[in-house]
Subunit: 241 residues, 2 copies
Amino acid sequence: MLPAQPNQSLIDGLSVLQALAGSGKSIGSRELARMLDMEPTKANRLLKTLAAIGVAQQQPDKKYAPGPGMHVLSAQSLHGSGLIRQAVPHLETLKAPGMIVAMGVLWRDKTCYLYHANHDTPTHVAMGAAELYPASMSGIGLVMLASLQNQQVRDLYHNHDIAGFENVSALIKQLKEIREQGYAVANPENKFTTVALGLGDNPTYAAIALSSRQMNPSQINSAVEQLKEARQLIKSQRGEG
Amino acid sequence: MLPAQPNQSLIDGLSVLQALAGSGKSIGSRELARMLDMEPTKANRLLKTLAAIGVAQQQPDKKYAPGPGMHVLSAQSLHGSGLIRQAVPHLETLKAPGMIVAMGVLWRDKTCYLYHANHDTPTHVAMGAAELYPASMSGIGLVMLASLQNQQVRDLYHNHDIAGFENVSALIKQLKEIREQGYAVANPENKFTTVALGLGDNPTYAAIALSSRQMNPSQINSAVEQLKEARQLIKSQRGEG
DNA sequence: AAGCATGTTGCTATATTAGCACCATCTATT
DNA sequence: AATAGATGGTGCTAATATAGCAACATGCTT
């Protein structure tokens, strides 16, 4: 919830930072202003401020790219939360041919993968995933959505379409089911089945998932058990157990 | 350089974000205010703003911890720059018993390691390094400092002690040498020898290094050659070659 | 050369933040 | 149980920093 006196400049600045980090290439200030529907002067000043503190850097062609500070931020947050360090070893034991192992968080109405691997993906590629996928169509996203209150979900999708669902009520109905059974099953495109489980309660800070070609009920059960075991191991390593 | 109209709120907000990411534990607003020498109301409002957009999250005890947005930022910047993805495979080939392989960037007057491994460090641990070390005492830091202009170095250490050097002039003298020979050799504590090489020119965005117990001149040469080879491979993969 | 897009700045009305005083809540101490 | 101190959080108004127009310099394309 917003404080009594939210800092709008910080919010805008971080939008710019996100856009810069997510774009994957260098970007000019007016171009970015259009992307974010922002006044160009403002975008320019925010970018230049980010560049001054090293989080962005300005290239010879005057466009802006992520700077060393962004890597520092990234490395420190990876390290600081300990999530990756503690979870990855256990995720790697779940690897198997034909099976995708993933960990992710909810970002607005998207799932952001922090780890995404099949059995032969090298670790550094798995960790560099960062793909964004509609939350309502991913197992991880559904589990994370289920950890929110219904009103928060309604706000999130206020005036937006929900990929894979007719309307908010249909989504909320499925979230109720997920809360009851404690895990989510998703079938995007009816080709892959994903089973997902949340990590941590209040707040659920991330979720882990197993995915493979069309699973039958007994395979789903087995995936749930594997995920529960991994969750337990991660929990105890994080000192929550 | 700062723009005509820098955004102070954004600068302060990112200091808070950095502190939060770097602290490794949850932190209260007054505590953080003291750390950053900031007025407590301000710190509180910045933190709550960060929490509202998901970059921080408030825990049941009301303290603040890094939130999912920070992981998103981290994952996107890791992925977006491509640095890790493109460099790590080549760094891993440099691994050898007794040898430390590292990649890092300059952050203010510190070296921040993005990758730090000996021959048996698992990749996900190597990538979660994020240690901060005085730049003037690390090979990577010296190489990155050498890529700055002397005046920038002076500004950086204005009114600060320089670990390992008597004064700025002594440091600048060594930087000159590094620029001439194209690589840095550091001997912190006279126990380990580190050889480091910069990646990219104008700007030098990162540096790579090999480190082991006391190297003799021929070992240093061999390390330089290995690093040059790795740099060439990384460059061409990044499309700079 | 002309036209257009871009990065950047100066300027001032305006919206936003700073920071004090204050409240509610929690914990530790008496 | 009462008290003292710390904390997270808010309301208020003076003081300040930002918004956004207009404008300039520069580079690219036609």
